[in-house]
């Protein structure tokens, strides 16, 4: 599913440098990236998504060398292949809950917004318990509800790969469990591969594999598992 070989990346002139000789994530698995802040977890997530490109090395996702794609191709790749969930939810304040869920279908011509998609959005909202709030703006939702909207948005395209960046970082324990239940239920039912960055060690038992970035961030040569 994800194959990384000889990857090296650095931001501009800073000291930070990420080097990963090899990392493989098998399809249908759940993987957590852990490690201290600044160790490169989110950077790797961005490299896998094609949001940024490595200096050297290969990033291959579903047999596509993402790092070799052009900007339009990487955008297309993300919107059709990936589901992204962020710590700060990143919902658009001026859109209703339903429009936020449907957002991927409105921002790229590769996806066609039709009645089936709308039905699916409704069903997802129903499943995560926000179907009665579809017309509301995000500011009138609780934190947990907002993250549930973000999860719906991420999985609406039925992506084979779900990347989540501290999806429960802003949630209380109750909402944290609820959002994780939703994510893991979805992953189990759909066979989607899940890669998640987290600082929360309490949730690690839910993941099939944990990658600790302390072992290989700046100067590491070995992927921990």
């Amino acid at each position: 599913m994800i194959r990384i070989e000889g990857l090296r990346f650095r931001y501009g002139e800073g000291d930070f440098q990420l080097r990963i000789p090899e990392l493989i994530v098998e399809p249908g698995t759940t993987t957590a990236f852990i490690g201290p802040s600044g160790s490169g977890k989110t950077t790797l997530l961005n490299l896998i998504a094609g949001i940024i490109r490595p200096e050297t090395g290969r990033v291959e996702t579903r047999n596509v060398e993402v790092s070799a794609l052009s900007d339009p191709e990487r955008r297309r790749f993300r919107v059709t292949t990936l589901g992204l969930v962020f710590q700060e939810f990143e919902l658009l304040e001026y859109l209703s809950v339903l429009d936020n869920i449907l957002l991927p279908y409105r921002i790229h011509a590769a996806l066609d917004l039709d009645a089936t998609v709308r039905e699916r959005a409704g069903a997802l909202a129903e499943r995560v318990g926000i179907s009665d709030k579809l017309d509301r703006p995000p500011r009138r939702l609780s934190q947990g509800e907002r993250q549930r909207v973000a999860v719906c948005r991420a999985v609406l395209t039925d992506p084979p790969l779900l990347l989540t960046d501290e999806p429960t970082g802003n949630l209380d324990p109750l909402n944290r469990e609820r959002v994780l239940d939703i994510l893991f239920d979805y992953v189990r039912e759909s066979g989607t591969t899940l890669v998640s960055v987290t600082h929360d060690h309490e949730i690690l038992p839910r993941f099939g594999r944990v990658v600790d970035f302390r072992n290989f961030h700046s100067f590491g040569e070995r992927a921990a598992s």
């Binding site: 998504a49 949001i51 955008r75 790749f77 962020f86 990143e90 001026y94 991927p104 921002i107 948005r153």
Partner: protein, 391 residues
């Protein structure tokens, strides 16, 4: 594209107050200089056209502008009064047609124009319905005046007092409307035309009352001195001229001393015009003005003022435009995270650019469209605005 525009629309709708303020600012920036230019052009055309159709105006010494505006546009600033003798003097020279004008009173907002039937021929005014005024007290209305007052032939109108406290002054006269004129798109459309003598009745120079020689009016007799009967305050004055009481209406004093605001003078040729103007050059109490010259002077002033106003509007506009672009720039900055989210999710470059620039494009487009609409409305209804300003 439809989906992206939908997102843009949702953004504008969500920030509707900010959007409305920006649209309003852009509209004004564009409209102020353009609309002002249209108004000035229209007023120039209109003022010049009517002035050119009015060869000469004679009035009492005073402001030529006031005299011209009152005579041509029936403005509420009443010039110093001349007398009916001025009209007779012109007529006696056989050099021109003299049309007396007495424009002082109003029926609500519509000016009462006391004149003679010659005025209708001079301006080429035709009846749309009803008939011409034939006897004292009858009124013929311009088309807009009829519309504004909501009356037509067979209805009645009442002259308005000049002020709320005008108890002993102008006498409210009830007048039958006998005709309505065709629309001419000129100041005549707003006027209530009456015979000049009817205007004098409103002024109180002529009146009708009970015949004190009749027995039923005995209670109104104060005393009798030979053939002279002196009435007391209980004598009933008529406030409407009807076939039954018209014979009782009479004027006190010499008609030639009765007031006029102006005499429109229509000489048949340039020579007669020159001769007449020469005669009035040395007159002590009267003046003869050429409306064309007065209007040219007025337009010169308007154009000078216009230049200053447009310069001011452009300066304010540029400052407002700079502020608007600052708002746009700040808005784009505030939306940085939104832009990043759309990029990360996989939004196409075109979609992200459309969503981000929609505010600027929509505000500019709607602002310019509204300004064009306002300019069109100014062009369409500018004459009405100008006339209401001249009143």
């Amino acid at each position: 594209m439809r989906d992206t525009l939908y997102l843009a629309w949702r953004y504008l709708a969500f920030h509707r107050v900010k959007t409305a303020i920006l649209v309003g600012a852009i509209t004004l920036i564009v409209f102020l200089p353009v609309g002002l230019r249209v108004i000035v052009n229209q007023s120039s055309r209109q003022l010049t056209a009517r002035a050119e159709a009015t060869p000469l105006v004679i009035g009492a010494k005073g402001s030529p502008t006031e005299l011209t505006l009152n005579t041509l546009y029936f403005s509420s600033d009443v010039p110093a009064r001349t007398t009916y003798a001025a009209a007779s003097e012109v007529a006696d020279t056989d050099l021109a047609q003299a049309i007396p004008m007495y424009v002082r009173f109003r029926v609500r907002d519509q000016p009462i124009v006391g004149t003679t039937l010659e005025y209708f021929g001079f301006r080429g005014l035709k009846l749309a319905e009803g008939r011409q005024m034939a006897v004292l007290g009858e009124a013929v209305l311009g088309s807009r005046a009829a519309e504004q007052l909501g009356v037509g032939p067979g209805d009645h109108i009442v002259s308005s007092p000049e002020s709320v406290f005008d108890i002993a002054g102008v006498y409210p006269l009830r007048m039958p409307v006998v005709g309505v004129l065709e629309f001419t798109d000129s100041a005549d459309d707003d006027a209530v035309f009456v015979d000049v003598k009817t205007a004098w009745v409103i002024e109180g120079l002529g009146h009708g009352h009970q015949d004190l020689s009749q027995p039923e009016a005995a209670a109104g007799v104060l005393r009798r001195e030979g053939n002279v009967v002196v009435g007391n305050a209980s004598v009933m004055q008529f406030n409407e001229i009807t076939p039954d009481n018209i014979d009782s209406f009479h004027f006190h004093g010499d008609l030639s001393d009765f007031p006029l605001t102006a005499v429109v003078v229509v000489p048949p040729d340039q020579r007669s015009s020159a001769l007449l103007q020469g005669r009035y050059q040395t007159a002590e109490l009267s003046q003869v003005v050429s409306p064309t010259e007065v209007m040219d002077e007025l337009l010169g002033t308007i154009l000078t003022v216009e230049k200053f106003v447009i310069a001011g509007a452009v300066t304010v506009g540029l400052a407002t435009l700079a502020t608007a672009f600052l708002v746009f720039a700040l808005s784009l900055r505030l939306r940085r995270r939104e832009r990043e989210t759309l990029f990360k999710i996989g939004g196409s470059r075109a979609a992200v650019a459309t969503v981000m620039t929609s505010e600027i494009v929509a505000v500019l487009a709607v602002g310019v469209l509204l300004a064009l609409l306002l300019t069109f409305l100014t062009q369409r209804y500018g004459d009405v605005i100008i006339r209401s300003l001249i009143r």
